[in-house]
Amino acid sequence: MTREPRTQPPEVTAAIRSSFAVGLAVAAYGISFGGLSVAAGLDVWQTCVLSLLMFSGGSQFALVGVLATGGAAAGGAAIASAVLLGTRNSLYALRVAPMIGPGRLKRLLAGHWTIDESTAVAAAQPTLESQRAGFWWTGLIIYVGWNLTTLIGALIGDQLGDVSRYGLDAAAAAAFLGLLWPRLKQLQPITVAVGAAVVAAVLMPVLPAGVPVLAAALVAVVVGLTNLFGTRESDIAEAEPDPMGER
């Protein structure tokens, strides 16, 4: 692919701007994770290893959430919740892989950085070059930011006390909503979102942490395989997420 040495295409500039907006917002609630993890009984090192190695917010929150209530005895359920929540990353990787191109090390790093936000920012961009820029910048900003804020959150966790006092739990919910919002432009995804929300809400009181989210994913599998409420296939390519929701 050809690349202008000096001038950067405007799509790439826009992609990098999206990366910063999404990346900084998401990285900020790493403080919430660090605090919650220490409160759940993990030490600072264990908390940091999760952010360095697992690096998937939903899975990390699920893991420490289960450990917070069940302790090490609930290890099996904790791992299952984290892993099943992490399955969506496989599908994100499927989407991201063609943008990344060949190269073993590059794909290894890209795999590690394949998360909700890097995928969403990349998929929202119009050209291959801006998709790559969006993916790598979002991944880099969140990886560095998330690990720093995790450490900060873990270190001051005790002093901070209840992180909900600062509304960080609500901020996390709003962040998920912000990622969801731009995907709700057609009947089929709206139907799936409503169905998944209802399933999760109904099952939350009766199933362990993490499992209601997985059960909700079944709504997508059923609707996706049958193409219920579907549109022509050509419309699907245009249903890409726009993580900023502002353009």
Binding site: I79, G86, A201, L225, G245
Partner: protein, 101 residues
């Protein structure tokens, strides 16, 4: 299992799932059903995560300051307010309600 075992096992499994997506043929991503499933799965999981993050508690389901915060966020997203401002607004709403209740 110690906490360390749990942390490492879960981390390696989650990382392996990400890498698995890179190992399968790229043509999979072009199949309409796979593309549709990937899109809808993301929508379903994000929607469920919004619900879980908004209402989740150790007691299962709980309505508290997070609900008005998320409602404010929804209004702001509908008004196309930038992401980061919405996130800050949501945190402020929840923190303010908790401070004054």
């Amino acid at each position: 299992m110690t906490i360390w075992h749990i942390v490492l096992l879960a981390s390696i499994a989650v990382l392996a799932l990400k890498l698995a997506g890179f190992a399968v043929p790229a043509s999979w991503a072009e199949k309409p059903t796979v593309a549709r499933l990937a899109n809808l799965l993301t929508v379903a999981l994000l929607s469920a995560l919004v619900v879980v993050q908004t209402f989740g508690s150790t007691r299962g389901f709980e309505v508290d300051a997070r609900l008005p915060a998320v409602a404010v966020a929804a209004v702001l997203f509908a008004l196309r307010v930038p992401f980061i401002l919405v996130i800050i607004a949501a945190a402020l709403v929840a923190a303010a309600i908790r401070a004054f209740s």
